[in-house]
């Protein structure tokens, strides 16, 4: 389906009548291709069918699930994970045990971190809290399911990071489905919520992983999202964003740069530290 700008506005307006389905501040190029992609998968051939189909909660959940973009692979950008392992985990603020994945799509990010925590003997020090507005996605994450298609690249990335072959020992395979073993996901919980309407409480997260998510937002939603994340982070807590994303200008003073290449930031312990320096 070739969607024009007016079509997209109509679609997002119809969707926003339902809870956690406000996509009106996603970027136009994303909506144009992703809505077409999702509609094709859901067999929606004509736009005038949409209002009726939206009344079905199963259709809505499938639509949200298909609009959600998978993190491409586990341990994407191994250098980021190396810094988390070597630098961030040893300096985490003590007053929180929460690590937040506000918009986890397919478990790739949270499973990567849970393996690193295990290898650092830190698993039981943290709760890994994921949120996804899709029930399908949440169930899959809670089951530890990973995409079999990404297994090879996951292993390659892991080997680049850890220089060992332990990757397969963390997973079980049955009927072609690969799952992270329950032992390594005992501290992971995925909540069926949209972080934009139900963010973590203020000053409650020690680390937030938010990589390659704001790519699909427009400027306005990007600012809104990063403001919520900044509030939720405890002072001295860490924020990791995608290597090609930027913090909004008005929040830069709230953070110190831990690594500019890998986009790792730490919330400053004093307000406007730059002005006080």
């Amino acid at each position: 389906m070739d969607l024009g700008i007016n079509d997209i506005k109509e679609i997002t307006s119809a969707m926003s009548d339902y809870p956690d389905m406000d996509y009106s501040n996603y970027s136009m190029s994303f909506l144009k291709r992703r809505l077409s992609y999702a509609f094709a998968l859901l067999n929606l051939r004509r736009l005038n069918q949409l209002p009726e189909r939206l009344k079905d909660p199963n259709f809505r959940d499938k639509l949200i699930s298909n609009l959600s973009v998978d993190a491409t692979e586990m341990f994407r950008d191994p250098a980021v994970w190396r810094l988390i392992r070597d630098k961030v985990l040893s300096d985490m603020p003590k007053e929180s045990e929460k690590i937040w994945f506000p918009a986890e799509a397919n478990g790739a990010e949270v499973f990567s971190l849970s393996i690193i925590l295990h290898e650092s003997s830190l698993t039981d020090n943290y709760k890994l809290i994921c949120q996804s507005p899709s029930i399908i996605r949440c169930n899959s994450i809670n089951d530890g399911a990973i995409s079999a298609g990404n297994n090879e690249i996951n292993q390659t990335n892991y080997k680049r990071l850890e220089n060992q072959n332990a990757y397969n020992s963390y997973f079980e395979t049955a009927d072609g489905q690969i799952n992270l073993l329950p032992y390594y996901r005992r501290n992971i919980e995925c909540l069926n919520e949209c972080f934009l309407s139900k963010p973590l409480a203020e000053n409650s997260a020690a680390l937030i992983m938010f990589r390659n998510i704001s790519l699909y937002y427009n400027h306005k939603l990007t600012k809104t999202a990063f403001r919520l994340l900044t509030k939720a982070l405890v002072k001295g807590g860490y924020l990791v964003i995608g290597i090609k994303e930027r913090l909004p200008e008005d929040l830069i003073d709230e953070f110190e740069v831990i690594d500019a290449n890998e986009n790792i930031y730490r919330k400053t312990t004093t307000i406007n530290s730059r002005n006080h320096a």
Binding site: S29, F30, K32, V69, A71, T72, L215, I243, K244, E245
Partner: protein, 190 residues
């Protein structure tokens, strides 16, 4: 013929295209104003090296953009490793980690089609040598929006799969050698 008032140049290429692009950037007018966007197939785990390699000889600044960067004149933008690069209606870059397309991320089809959608007849699309059909549909999309299209002459290509795939889909405005591509670009008004 073309009206020469291009707002963007988008170039796609795969195997063998690095040296072609490098030679184009080494011979281009240093005052070339129109933003140039490069969507080249590359190893996804090697983040550095390509922009540095192209910068060695380029007469114009070459950057790998961040998401939401505005396309500026007199600058070459290289699609980063392991990201698709789209162009937004407001002339900013939109990166994406969506599924590989034609086994490629960045996908040339995606970049070229999004440029065609935004800039229509003000788009200049160039498709170079490559071992994959990715890019053929994208450059046809530019032609379909009345943009101007150049396909590297398959006889001059290291691997001719990509230009030949495009020529099977449509007839571009020009089928020329890399040297003639440079001459074409330098003939555009600054």
């Amino acid at each position: 013929m073309h009206d020469a008032d291009f707002k963007i140049v988008v170039i796609g290429g795969s195997a063998g295209s690095f040296s072609v692009v490098s030679n184009i950037l080494a011979a281009i007018n240093p005052d070339f104003k129109i933003p140039i966007v490069l969507s080249l197939h590359r190893l996804k785990h090697l983040r550095s090296g390509l922009v540095e390699g192209l910068s060695l000889k380029s007469l114009i600044k070459v950057v790998e953009p961040n998401d939401k960067d505005k396309l500026m004149p007199n600058t070459v933008y290289l699609a980063p490793a392991n990201y698709h690069l789209f162009i937004e209606l407001d002339g900013t870059v939109a990166l994406s980690t969506e599924e590989a397309f034609n086994h490629s991320r960045p996908s040339i089809d995606y970049t070229l089609s999004s440029a065609a959608y935004v800039y229509r007849e003000k788009t200049l699309g160039i498709l170079l040598t490559g071992a994959n059909k990715d890019g053929a549909q994208g450059i046809k999309d530019i032609a379909d929006k009345n943009g101007y299209t150049i396909v590297q002459d398959p006889l001059t290509a290291d691997i001719d799969t990509m230009p030949k795939a495009a020529l099977r889909l449509f007839t571009p405005n020009e089928v020329i050698s890399p040297k003639q591509i440079v001459q074409f670009l330098n003939s555009l008004p600054i």
